[in-house]
């Protein structure tokens, strides 16, 4: 039963949320990075490994997702094409910021869950202890 391995599930939750923060930060960081000619426009996303829900084990994985390009006219840019257009990945800043906030909150909740479960275990060890 997955509840027996709750600390592993909580650890997965922690690494999943941390990865979401890192990926959202990465996506925001590359939003103003011009793409070289022929480079695909991509962002990163976090996914769960296959079979995760059966065993509640594994590590979150990062997948690459294609997105549209954002075009900006800048003839002086060294990566501008022959029409003077500079290609950027179309990153949804609002979506990434929302991911950043929700992942931070969930990470804190996971830490709280881990600490609470740990406190319960330590308290159980004290049963019958001579004071």
């Amino acid at each position: 039963m997955s509840l027996d391995k709750i600390s592993e599930t909580v650890r997965f939750g922690l690494s999943y949320e941390r990865m979401r923060v890192e990926v959202a930060s990465y996506n925001l960081a590359i939003s103003n990075l011009a793409l070289k000619s022929g480079t695909p426009s991509t962002v990163q996303r976090v996914a769960v490994p296959s079979g995760f829900f059966q065993h509640m084990q594994g590590k979150p994985i990062v997948i690459t997702e294609s997105v549209e390009e954002r075009l900006q006219v800048d003839h002086s840019h060294p990566l501008a094409d022959e029409k003077g257009l500079v290609h950027y990945p179309k990153v949804d800043a609002a979506k990434e910021m929302a991911t950043l906030v929700s992942a931070t909150r969930a990470y804190e909740a996971n830490i709280r869950a881990y600490n609470s479960l740990r406190a319960m275990t330590l308290k159980a060890f004290e049963i019958g202890k001579q004071t």
């Binding site: 999943y16 909150r105 709280r112 869950a113 319960m120």
Partner: protein, 130 residues
Amino acid sequence: MRYKMSIDTITAINTVRLVMTLQEARARVAAQNIALANIPNSKVSYLDINTPMSQLRAALADPVTLVETIDRQSLQSIESLVSKRHQNIDVLSLDNEVAELSTASGRYQALADGLSRQFALMQMAVRGGK
């Protein structure tokens, strides 16, 4: 003739142990829901703690029924009390789950403390009050 008797120490300890098991399961279910809060296609788990608790409360009046209820519930697995809802994880409230976890954790620790005190009293009685 059925004699009215008070709850003995062993029954009291067993009752506390059973409720501690339920509170621990409650905390684990909340922790699992928190861990899966932002994972797409995950399901929310629910633990029905009200049914066993109301059965225990109803049995408190009669010690014999209480012992039977504790024995029956001790054999029942926690899994049978957990249900997974196929609804979207988006309906999950992270605040509610954290509150649920904190409540369960607090009650578990209070019960463990009570159990420790009970054992301390028993140890004192064994030592002859020394």
